[in-house]
């Protein structure tokens, strides 16, 4: 049986999740040139926000059709509050400091958030089961799509469309673009850049929370360390796509996801490559791809605007 279509779907789904988280990296970077390393933990907090709504707010046995939108809302609220709080307390005081200072703060914040959830969330010492949507899976030809993945398939394009509309058509969105191009001039033109920065953090967190709910539905569990590896992957996706470019984040995510799925499936079939083809090598191939892209296009796949600022 030909497994290529299934592997493409596997990669696309994984990549869409990377993309959702990558948006947060890319927007914050585009505007304040800060790589918010705590973003993976914002993603994790989104997942815990959603599970908290399910476990402690909603009555037992609430159907997922009611629970899911509320969980999504809960996740977004927690993630946004955490991101805005982090911006306020950890990044804003350091805005005029050398670039390295907020970066180190970000890593410290990331570890602190992880340990805080581990220490204080009642069940976080082990994986917490995430509620699942009933029914499915769906077979289209010889491609199987899990019920939990339907959410991701719908949420990823909608999120992108909402974001594109916001950035291109609204006043605040145009303010973001202006701030990204030149914060000082934007300020002179009467744009409240502090507010724009907060909005960039909040938006990125909201998308990360959508990604976290997708993660929970896809893998059936959340745990306090879920943000670390996924955050690194999403950061990689953002760089691959061209950091600072929101379409690039999504594209980079999908390319990364496809690289992981296809390398697991096919590298071993290439003569002489049998020992480099297993899933444990998927990350290696993903990073080989990243290095190749950066060698030939240092600005990333779609990253033109960042290049002319450098």
């Amino acid at each position: 049986m030909n497994e290529l279509p299934q592997q493409l779907v596997n990669g696309l789904l994984l990549g869409s999740m990377y993309g959702l988280v990558a948006i947060g990296y890319t927007m914050v970077y585009g505007i304040v040139q800060l790589i918010n390393f705590a973003h993976g933990e914002i993603f994790m907090l989104g997942g815990f926000g959603a599970i908290t709504v399910y476990l402690y707010v909603l009555p037992d046995g609430t159907t997922m059709w009611v629970a899911l939108p509320l969980m999504l809302l809960g996740g977004i609220i927690v993630a946004v509050l955490a991101a805005v709080g982090a911006e306020r307390l950890a990044y804003r005081p350091l805005r005029s400091a050398p670039r390295l200072a907020p970066l180190i703060t970000a890593i410290g914040l990331s570890l602190a958030l992880q340990q805080a959830v581990w220490a204080w969330y009642p069940e976080a010492k082990e994986s917490i089961n995430f509620p699942q949507i009933e029914g499915g899976p769906f077979e289209i030809g010889n491609v199987t799509i899990q019920t939990g993945d339907i959410f991701l398939l719908i949420a990823a394009p909608i999120s992108m469309a909402v974001l594109a509309y916001f950035v291109m058509k609204t006043r605040t969105g145009r303010g973001m673009q202006a701030t990204a191009q030149d914060p000082d001039t934007a300020k002179l033109m009467g744009i409240n850049t502090d507010r724009i920065i907060v909005i960039a953090f909040a938006l990125g967190a909201a998308f990360a929370a959508v990604g976290a709910v997708a993660y929970g539905l896809k893998y059936g569990q959340v745990q306090f360390r879920m943000g670390f590896i996924l955050g690194l992957k999403a950061f990689t996706a953002a760089v691959l796509g061209g950091i600072g470019n929101i379409y690039g984040a999504m594209l980079g995510g999908v390319v990364l996801g496809l690289a992981e799925a296809l390398s697991t499936a096919y590298i071993a079939d290439i003569p002489g490559m049998a020992q480099f083809g297993s899933q444990s090598w998927a990350d290696v191939w993903a990073f080989v791809l990243l290095i190749l892209v950066l060698l030939f296009r240092p600005q990333g796949l779609l990253g033109e605007r960042v290049a002319d600022r450098a």
Binding site: M1, E3, Q6, Q7, N10, G11, L13, L14, Q33, I35, F37, R99, L100, L103, I104, I107, S110, L111, Q114, Q115, W118, K125, E126, S127, N129, P137, T144, Q146, Y219, G220, Q221, R225, M226, F228, I229, L232, F235, V239, I243, E260, A261, L262, T264, A265, S278, Q279, S280, W281, A282, D283, P298, V306, R309, A310
Partner: protein, 409 residues
């Protein structure tokens, strides 16, 4: 250029952060044994007390604590009070080695129980051996630990201070292969492992025996234990036509793995070793884990008459966490140290000799008693003489024993 160098710095920091997480919090409080009058002998316990494998690690710590408390209550060794000092290795070899160094440096520590992972044990063995401090692992199953790197052709015991109460993968893997081929009538297997000492070793001994019996290996995969997405692997399993999957590794990965394999449409059981035999596996795998198998060392603790007291005492002691897969073995490992201490003290007119560590390590070789898991004694390599194994299957959300036996080559 500024921005590109920022990205380079960031990447370097990211790599640093990856290693940093390996050493987060440790030392989650010590098991508080009662210290009384007379001499106090401290037994170090090293196990993963936090992180994914903490369910097993905490079971080990609590059971060791129970053994020390029982010995104190019975005044098993005259004038000696036992105390546990537990350190967290987070299933990381580097942390394990640091803990071993810590134990060695404390003069009142005369023996160590642990660790859980064979890969962690590898990093500790030399540290303990140099100090002549005895180590008894309740859970390591990697054959090289006791029989050297070339154990398949020429057995050489590398460290005289290392003992274990769990039997090895040299027996566990083939035992599973025999059960699957002969009893469950499975002929085509897909073998997956996590590339760690334990997982890869188990998968290898399984594969050798399964092929010898006439079975076919239709695919192999190595997974990265840091990830949760096994969809690409699951698709390969489905398309391979395998009628069973053998997994060498531990439950934090095999739980999600079984879920994703079944979801991909491969309705075949996933089979693993003792690293998978934990209630948390069923929790992680959900209903997808029904029908899966795992082998574990020894006979089921609950069914052994010798274990009745242990199960009751454990319950009475009120530990928060269950004793898990290695509770019985951990109790026996601790008790073996207590027996060795008793022998040494009795030979030295009721008090500890100056070279207590070396004497205790020596005495361990001849320790023999009826423990929780059956007869506890060690062969010339430091391996347990008890070669019993059991196959368990997930049924109604619980592990149920389906077959116990000893492996016959």
């Amino acid at each position: 250029m500024r921005q590109r160098s920022l990205i380079a710095i960031t990447a370097a920091l990211a790599a640093g952060a990856l290693t940093l997480t390996a050493c987060g919090s440790r030392d989650e409080g010590n098991g508080g044994s009662d210290a009384g009058s007379g001499t106090t002998v401290v037994i170090g316990v090293d196990a993963p007390l936090t992180g994914d494998l903490s369910a097993m690690g905490l079971g080990i710590k609590n059971s060791a604590d129970l053994a020390a408390k029982t010995a104190n209550k019975e005044k098993y060794v005259d004038g000696i009070t036992f105390k546990i000092e537990a350190l967290d290795d987070q299933a990381q070899p580097s942390s394990g080695q640091q803990n071993a160094v810590t134990f060695v440096a404390k003069k009142d520590i005369l023996g160590a129980v642990g660790p859980l992972n064979s890969s962690v044990a590898e990093s500790m063995q030399k540290v303990f051996d140099d100090a002549k401090l005895v180590q008894v692992s309740p859970a390591n199953t990697g054959p090289t630990l006791t029989q050297g790197a070339d154990w398949q052709t020429k057995k050489v015991r590398p460290y005289k201070s290392y003992f274990r109460t769990a039997t090895t993968d040299a027996i566990q893997g083939p035992f599973a292969a025999q059960y699957l081929y002969n009893d469950a009538k499975k002929k085509k297997v897909f073998v997956i492992d996590d590339k760690k000492t334990y997982g890869a070793g188990l998968a290898a001994t399984f594969t050798t025996e399964f092929k010898k019996l006439g079975g076919e290996v239709v695919g192999t995969e190595h997974i990265n234990p840091e990830t949760k997405d096994f969809s690409a692997v699951a698709t390969k399993v489905k398309n391979s036509g395998a009628d069973v999957v053998y997994y060498g590794g531990e439950y934090p990965q095999s739980g999600p793995l079984t879920k994703q394999i079944k979801a991909a449409g491969a309705k075949v059981p996933v089979v693993g070793g003792d690293g998978m035999y934990d209630p948390e596996y069923i929790n992680l795998g959900g209903s997808a884990s029904t029908g899966d198998y795992a082998t574990s060392v020894g006979a089921p603790v609950e069914e052994l008459p010798s274990a009745k007291d242990f199960v009751a005492d454990y319950k009475a002691a009120g530990y928060k966490e269950p004793y898990s897969a290695y509770g019985g073995y951990s109790y026996d490992s601790t008790w073996a140290i207590i027996e060795a201490v008793k022998k040494v003290v009795e030979d030295n007119d009721g008090k500890l000799p100056d070279d207590a560590r070396a004497k205790i390590t020596e005495a361990m070789q001849n320790v023999s008693f009826d423990g929780v898991t059956g007869k506890v004694a060690f062969d010339e390599y430091g391996d347990t003489t008890n070669k019993q194994l059991t196959v368990y299957q997930v049924e109604g959300g619980e592990w149920k024993a389906v077959k116990s036996g000893t492996y016959s080559g």
